[in-house]
């Protein structure tokens, strides 16, 4: 659907699980390097935990935010605020509270919010028999905390909303902004998501679904193998990412660097099953994103797949992609980067959008790591394996297909 205003991506920021900066993260993605490690936890309260996971082990909240501010945040907000401030700086925007920006806002995604705070609170109450929890528990735990902190730190006066759509949370948060900027309601939005889900209870809950990939020290890095015949399931992760989305003319006027154009978005619901994905729902979302972006399937050169490496999900997504792209499917580059950064639940959508945007900006797309034995049921597209795909990438899609059947697809276009 054509619109008067275009939307530019002018800033990117994330908390890199490898410990370096944004550029370091993308380089490792291109090389097919996995951030998945064996996460073990043993303390007096819980039974021992041992599961492949992605953690931001080098993240120092006090250093990133100052101890005073970090103290008022659950880890999910610490990660999120850090990513947002990084994207803001990347966009060349000044940290000043002088000018109230009432048409600049926040759109954030998280599946579980301050779940770590809830867990430590429950331990205090139920196991340690305490009568109270610390007074900041509500403001740490509430799911809109990260968006609030970002709004406060950056002085943003437009709407500050948080979307909770399981695995599609931050993709939805990004998508919902498109119309705000196109319509002129907002000039600039800080968008993204954050998740710190590695509490004892959350990990056990996912284990109970029998879809978490198992592993040990040696095999953990390759535990998440989307599209492989022997794929075992997904790997959980914690993380945060943010993008600055801006009215195109506003970006050009202030001389901003434009990574890519955020061209379109498609959001649908499977209305089918709580966990089993649906080909039709996914196809409709991809078609909607392509059309909304003023494109046809022939214009798209790369799809960053949802690709969680579950037995059930991967073939359904490939079938949906083939349904949309038809005879072009064999030439359409596809990769599932969860093979490297894991499934950060609510934060995954923005991390994958960042990877997609950087792929268009650099004209290099990352592989699906460890894809050495393609499942026949996942064949029919051009899987990127081993190292990066270099070539003319004109436009790309980033897919997020959530539990509950919510599908959101983001379409980006390269700029020259």
């Amino acid at each position: 659907m054509a619109s008067a205003r275009r939307v530019a991506v002018t800033g990117l920021g994330l908390v890199n699980p490898f410990g370096g900066d944004l550029s370091d993260f993308f380089c490792r993605m291109l090389r097919g390097e996995s951030a998945i490690r064996l996460y073990t936890r043993e303390d007096s309260v819980t039974r021992p935990l041992s599961v492949p996971a992605v953690r931001c082990a080098n993240f120092d909240a006090d250093a990133a935010l100052g101890r005073s501010l970090a103290y008022t945040m659950d880890r999910y907000s610490q990660l999120g605020t850090t990513a947002a401030l990084s994207a803001w700086s990347d966009a060349g925007l000044p940290r000043t509270k002088d000018a109230p920006r009432n048409d600049w806002g926040v759109s954030w995604g998280t599946a579980l919010g301050g779940t770590l705070t809830f867990e430590s609170g429950y331990i205090e109450l139920l196991r340690n028999g305490r009568e109270r929890v610390p007074p900041l528990s509500v403001v740490l735990g509430m799911s809109n905390a990260a968006a609030s902190h970002i709004s406060i730190q950056l002085g943003l006066g437009a709407s500050s909303a948080t979307y909770s759509v399981a695995c599609a949370s931050s993709a939805v948060a990004i998508g919902e902004v498109l119309q705000k900027i196109r319509s002129g309601e907002a000039t600039l939005m800080v968008v993204g998501g954050s998740e710190a889900p590695l509490s004892y209870g959350v990990v056990r809950a996912w284990e109970a679904m029998r879809i978490l990939a198992l592993g040990d020290e040696a095999s953990a890095a390759r535990a998440c193998r989307p599209f492989n015949s022997d794929r075992q399931g997904l790997v959980l992760g914690e993380g945060a990412g943010a993008m600055i989305l801006e009215d195109w003319d506003h970006a050009v006027r202030r001389g901003a660097r434009i990574y890519a154009e955020f061209a379109g978005c498609g959001s649908t619901s499977d209305h089918d099953h709580l966990v089993r994905p649906n080909v039709d729902g996914q196809m409709r979302a991809m078609r909607m994103a392509i059309q909304d972006g003023g494109m046809t399937p022939d214009d798209v050169d790369y799809v960053n797949a949802h690709g969680t490496a579950t037995r059930e999900g991967d073939p359904i997504e490939i079938a949906a992609i083939r349904g949309v792209f038809g005879s072009r499917s064999a030439d359409l580059a596809v990769s599932a980067t969860k093979s490297m950064h894991g499934h950060m639940l609510g934060a995954t959508g923005v991390i994958e959008a960042i990877i997609t945007v950087m792929s268009l900006a650099s004209q290099e797309a990352p592989p699906t790591a460890y894809l050495d034995d393609l499942d026949r049921e996942c064949a029919g597209v051009r899987h990127i394996t081993g190292g990066p795909l270099r070539g003319a990438l004109r436009a790309a899609l980033s897919n997020s297909f959530a539990f509950g059947g919510s599908n959101t697809v983001l379409a980006f276009r390269a700029v020259h």
Binding site: T72, R132, P135, L136
Partner: protein, 85 residues
């Protein structure tokens, strides 16, 4: 609680504010305004919680909002005395 071992409440308060907000303990006097010490509503809750924890008391919900350090210590003393400590 053995009152010889009990840390002076003013010291408890100034150490807490130093740790939380890096406030210079020399500024934490009974006359000092809580607002000037940047003690907002949330930090006040944390202070009350800290005293309840340390002294094993329960500060009632309907206390008047203290304006100075002295006001806050007065509330704590009153509750402690009431518990017969």
């Amino acid at each position: 609680m053995n009152s010889d071992m009990k840390q002076d409440n003013l010291t408890v308060l100034s150490e807490f504010l130093h740790k939380r907000e890096n406030i210079d303990p020399a500024r934490v006097t009974p006359e000092a305004s809580l607002e000037e010490l940047k003690v907002d509503s949330l930090l006040l809750l944390e202070l009350l919680f800290e005293f309840e924890d340390r002294l094993g008391v329960k500060i009632p919900q309907d206390i008047p909002r203290p304006k100075t350090v002295g006001d806050l210590l007065g509330i704590v003393d009153k509750v402690t005395a009431g518990n017969g400590v």
